[in-house]
């Protein structure tokens, strides 16, 4: 039986918890925002969508203030090593809060929420809850904390993706998401238990020390990493753990699709980088391990298959959201390339790519929302002739898609440039990976261009030549996003400096 702790021990535990609180303010703030939104929802009557939405937007924006203050704090562990505070975590805090804000902006723009949803109620609160979960994923440094944070994200995501209750596809999406999520969580948890069995530790830093000190059975190790990869792979949506994503992306409300495709993927990468870089030992050559494969080789396989599968299958898609879903599998592959490099440049490249992906993918989904507001459809055929009806939307979407392909002068090009530079900085070791990367991005050009092709090169099926105006604010927003995409493609120094500055991870110096 456990011994009851003495009064002094309890006192010291409380003291440690208290001392950690000062470094936990953004999370506390977001939790208060979450509860506040629920209460506000109960108090308010009538048309609540706008009020709740704007409150969420402002509330999330307020958290930037608290996050910014954390730059002054030293990197440290909190709460008995459950949680860390470092520049890397702060980067993702900005990232997820901004993603949450963007999801809210897209929700406010989406007319479907007015027609399909009876009570917007807890929607915005759930968005905030998901932000909290993702923020904690990026900062978790303990297997238990990692699992809890991931479950928080997953559970809110299940609800949000099924938010259009009367829409069968939305419900289907939520159910599929749930089933796949449950299985992969279970697998991951099993992997965690194997690691715990080998090391008797749950803190990732201590795990790495224990593994280095006492050695490990390679067979068990590879099994454990494989199982854990199932959990992470599910979050980042990489092949072969991607099966949920096309259906969920297609069925879920579009703002949530965008949110999942950017933020949830980024959270997966935040965790993946931290976990693999810190916890699991690796040979400096990927071919050093006893079995001939180690987790790095697993990542290589995942990356290559994701790039090929995502890009090739996307060619046959007829629904724009589904097309973007498959493309997001491919982007997970490109991001994994940066993880494989395993050094500062690689991490910097991954963070930069995430930033660029944030901008272009959100922007693309935003335009998809605006278009579906007017046409009520997301199929390629209904994009015919839209270029002349919504010229700005057409031009903006084209720029975002070009950026997703990775053509200059857009931010997506710089993202790819960073990834490939990181690969080639290792000499000839990874040239073949870079080759697959560039060749698959040529394939991606074909299906991305299907959208401008339908918008500009083909005439509308209905002879109705009325122009569709998405509204002044939306036009302004699109123009700003378009300019940003090009601006950061030409002057990307601030973004890449930010990414470099943020690539320092607590505990990484051990290696």
């Amino acid at each position: 039986m456990f011994e009851l702790p003495s009064g002094a021990e309890i006192q010291s535990i409380i003291a440690i918890l208290k001392s950690g609180l000062g470094f936990f303010i953004p999370e506390i703030y977001l939790s208060i925002l979450f509860m506040g939104l629920i209460i506000l929802d109960l108090v308010l009557k009538g048309r609540k969508n706008a009020i709740l939405g704007w409150t969420t937007l402002l509330g999330l924006g307020g958290s930037f203030y608290f996050i910014a203050q954390q730059h002054a704090m030293q990197a440290r562990e909190l709460f008995f090593g459950m949680y860390v505070l470092d520049e890397y975590a702060i980067f993702f805090k900005y990232f997820f809060v901004a993603s949450g804000m963007f999801a809210v902006v897209a929700t406010l723009a989406d007319r479907k929420f007015e027609t399909e949803v009876k009570s917007i109620g807890e929607y915005y609160a759930l968005v905030v809850a998901m932000v909290i979960g993702m923020v904690m994923m990026a900062a978790a440094s303990d297997l238990l904390m990692i699992f809890l944070a991931m479950e928080l994200v997953s559970l809110t995501a299940y609800i949000l993706s099924g938010y259009f209750k009367r829409d069968a596809r939305s419900s289907e999406a939520a159910l599929k998401y749930l089933v796949y999520g449950a299985v992969s969580s279970g697998l991951m948890l099993y992997g965690f238990s194997l690691i715990y069995g080998m090391t008797a530790e749950t803190n990732i830093l201590k795990i790495s020390m224990a593994l280095a000190d006492h050695g490990y059975d390679p067979l068990v190790m590879i099994l454990a990493t494989l199982l854990i990869m199932a959990g992470f792979g599910y979050k980042i949506g990489a092949f072969p753990f991607h099966f949920w994503s096309p259906d969920v992306y297609e069925g879920a409300p579009t703002p949530i699709t965008a949110y999942l495709s950017v933020a949830s993927k980024a959270a997966g990468f935040a965790l993946l980088l931290r976990f693999f870089y810190i916890a699991v030992p690796h040979g400096f050559s990927p071919y050093e391990d006893i079995l001939g494969i180690d987790w790095l080789s697993l990542l290589v396989i995942m990356s290559v298959t994701s790039m090929i599968y995502g890009n090739v299958v996307a060619i046959w898609q007829k629904n724009v959201k589904r097309l973007l879903a498959y493309s997001s599998i491919a982007h997970a592959g490109y991001l994994l390339l940066g993880v494989i490099v395993m050094d500062e440049i690689g991490t910097q490249a991954v963070l930069f790519y995430l930033l660029s992906y944030f901008l272009m993918n959100y922007a693309a989904f935003y335009v998809v929302v605006l278009i579906s507001n007017r046409t009520g459809s997301e199929t390629l055929d209904d994009y015919r002739g839209l270029g002349s009806k919504m010229p700005l939307a057409g031009a903006a979407l084209t720029v975002f898609l070009i950026s997703l392909v990775g053509l200059p002068p857009t931010v997506g090009f710089i993202g790819k440039l960073m990834i490939f530079s990181a690969l080639l900085s290792k000499g000839s070791l990874y040239i073949w990976l870079a080759l697959i990367g560039v060749l698959t991005s040529v394939i991606s050009l074909y299906y991305y261009m299907l959208i401008p092709l339908n918008m500009f090169l083909r005439e509308s099926l209905e002879p109705n030549e009325k122009s569709l105006n998405p509204g002044f604010l939306a036009q302004l927003m699109m123009a700003v996003l378009m300019i940003l995409t090009i601006w950061f493609g030409l002057f990307f120094e601030p973004l890449s400096e930010f990414a470099r500055y943020s690539s320092s991870m607590f505990g990484l110096s051990l290696y």
Partner: protein, 545 residues
């Protein structure tokens, strides 16, 4: 100066953006003004250019000044890469003998292209926006001396071109546009990898940092010995050369990467065909001369023979294909392939004559093919068909048109006295005097005969003889008793109108003038070409001296 000439069309584009799309004439005039000013600037650069400076490589010590002219060099992006030092990208423009000729050509062809775009009726605003973007990207490519900048301009051309073919093109335009896009992107992604590899391999002697500067890359002493593309890594240098060559060869287009070109030409509207053949194809061979060959001279020496063989295949295969075409525009497109083969052959000779011929051929092909495509466009506008056997006896009814066609056709087949002759002669002199390409040149001469065949044969079928029964036009007896030609749905002037003459006459004058006195253009390039030959083939030079 160079920044202005590069970005002038984009400025015009921004003005156009502000003009309401119903004001078509204003949009056209703004574009034309930009193009004319660009032309004026090109002439000013031409006048201010000192042909005694070599270019290609930097002066001793790594300073590009004194070697390149009109240099504009600003730090653009400086990235800290942690352990890998910093990544420096410069905004670095400048001209030497290679680029100045291409700058003049680009300005000229862009201006003609705007005039030729007057007939575009659909979505004029969008058209000229894209057109101006394309003009900037082309000009930028020719003056960029930083590989990164070059790559940005190079890729920037693709999207406007895709839409220009895809929206304003012919019936099969979707296929042609995406084929063009995919093909060129396929070539240029390899260039991206080579660019990154070169970046990690080259040190700027002035700053000691890794650099994207093409000037620094052109001197072999700036390479890090054991870097990925350094002198120790011969294997990867071969690979890099080959993939870079394929990237440029797609643009040339070289057999077997040429299949996008006939499709693109047939579907593209006339002005875009003019730009495509007049300027874009030259970017391929320009890229070879600026980047591919001087950066990997030892690989170039090893592969001169292969390049020559491909040149010969291009010449003969292109000519045979042209001979078989029923569609006049397709014939001209294949003749482009054939004529770009001469450029490849001249480059493969790797001596002063061959290289001068190649570069001069690039210029002449630009002007002559522009003329050919405009002439094809003229008849297509009137008859709505380009089938060669739907015409006959046109010389009687459209004498001015027939006259200019004759000049253009003869210039294309290399008649002495016209500019095409001089460049082809130089190419052959060069190819014959080089040990490597002597026998290839003998085979290639066949191309001239074939060229004469398809050009003269089409001339005969279309312009001589009498109207055929199934011709694309009728004959009517005019009030003065003369037989007059009549096209369906054509209310304009039957023979060439003023705008068409304004496009064609300058080109005719240039073709004739440069055929008699080539020095204004050729004089610009000699020092640079000689230096390029020194960089490329020290062995060959030693043998000559």
């Amino acid at each position: 100066m160079l920044s202005l000439i590069v970005f002038l069309p984009v400025i015009a584009g921004l003005i156009i953006l502000a003009v309401p799309s119903s004001q078509k004439q204003i949009i056209r005039i703004v574009s034309l003004l930009a193009a004319v000013v660009q032309m004026v600037l090109a002439v000013m650069i031409w006048r201010g250019y000192d042909p005694s400076l070599a270019g290609i490589t930097a002066m001793a010590g790594g300073m590009p000044e004194g070697s390149f002219q009109f240099i504009e060099r600003l730090p653009w992006i400086s990235l800290d890469l942690g352990g890998m030092g910093s990544m420096n990208i410069e905004y670095f423009l400048g001209v030497d003998g290679l680029s100045i000729t291409m700058v003049i050509l680009t300005a000229l062809v862009s201006t003609i292209g705007v005039l030729s775009s007057w007939t575009i009726k659909k979505q004029v605003k969008g058209y000229f926006l894209l057109y101006n973007l394309l003009a900037t990207a082309m000009m930028g490519c020719f003056v960029a001396l930083d590989f990164f900048l070059f790559y940005v301009f190079w890729e920037l051309m693709l999207l406007p071109m895709y839409f220009l073919i895809g929206i304003w093109g012919g019936p099969n335009r979707e296929y042609a546009a995406i084929k063009f896009f995919l093909y060129t992107l396929f070539g240029s992604v390899f260039m991206l990898l080579v660019m990154i590899g070169l970046y990690f391999s080259v040190i700027d002697p002035l700053t000691g940092n890794n650099t994207f500067s093409l000037v620094a890359m052109a001197s072999q002493e700036n390479y890090i010995k054991d870097a990925i593309l350094g002198p120790d890594n011969a294997m990867w240098r071969y690979v890099a050369f080959i993939v870079l060559f394929i990237g440029f060869a797609i643009k040339v287009p070289m057999f077997p990467f040429h299949t996008w070109l006939p499709d693109a030409h047939v579907e593209a509207p006339t002005p875009i065909s003019v730009i495509l053949a007049g300027v874009l194809l030259k970017l391929g061979t320009y890229g070879m001369m600026r980047i591919n060959f001087p950066l990997f001279p030892e690989v170039f020496q090893a592969s001169m023979y292969v390049i020559g063989v491909f040149g010969a295949i291009n010449i003969i295969y292109g000519a045979f294909c042209a001979l078989a075409q029923q569609d006049l525009k397709k014939m001209v497109a294949y003749s482009s392939i054939s004529h770009m083969g001469y450029v490849l052959l001249g480059l493969a000779a790797a001596n002063s004559e061959g290289m001068t011929g190649a570069l001069y051929q690039m210029f002449n092909h630009g002007t002559i093919t522009a003329m050919l495509f405009i002439l094809v466009g003229v008849i297509y506008d009137r008859a709505h068909t380009r089938q060669i056997d739907k015409f006959g006896g046109l010389a009687t009814y459209m004498p001015v048109y027939a006259g200019i066609v004759t000049v253009a056709w003869f210039a294309s087949l290399g008649l002495p006295g016209l500019s095409g002759f001089i460049s082809e002669a130089f190419v052959f002199v060069g190819a014959f005097s080089s040990e490597t390409t002597r026998y290839i040149a003998m085979v290639s001469v066949l191309g001239i005969v074939l060229g004469a065949a398809y050009l003269l044969w089409s001339l005969q079928r279309m312009f001589l003889g009498k109207r055929k029964d199934d011709a694309a036009y009728d004959l009517q007896i005019g009030p003065d008793g003369q037989e007059k030609i009549h096209f369906h749905d054509w209310n304009g002037k039957l023979d060439l109108d003023g705008r068409e003459l304004a496009m064609l006459i300058p080109l005719v004058v240039i073709t004739i003038f440069l055929g008699i006195y080539p020095m204004p253009i050729m004089g610009l390039m000699t020092t640079t070409v000689n230096h390029l030959v020194e960089v490329l083939a020290p062995v060959v030079m030693a043998a000559v001296n």
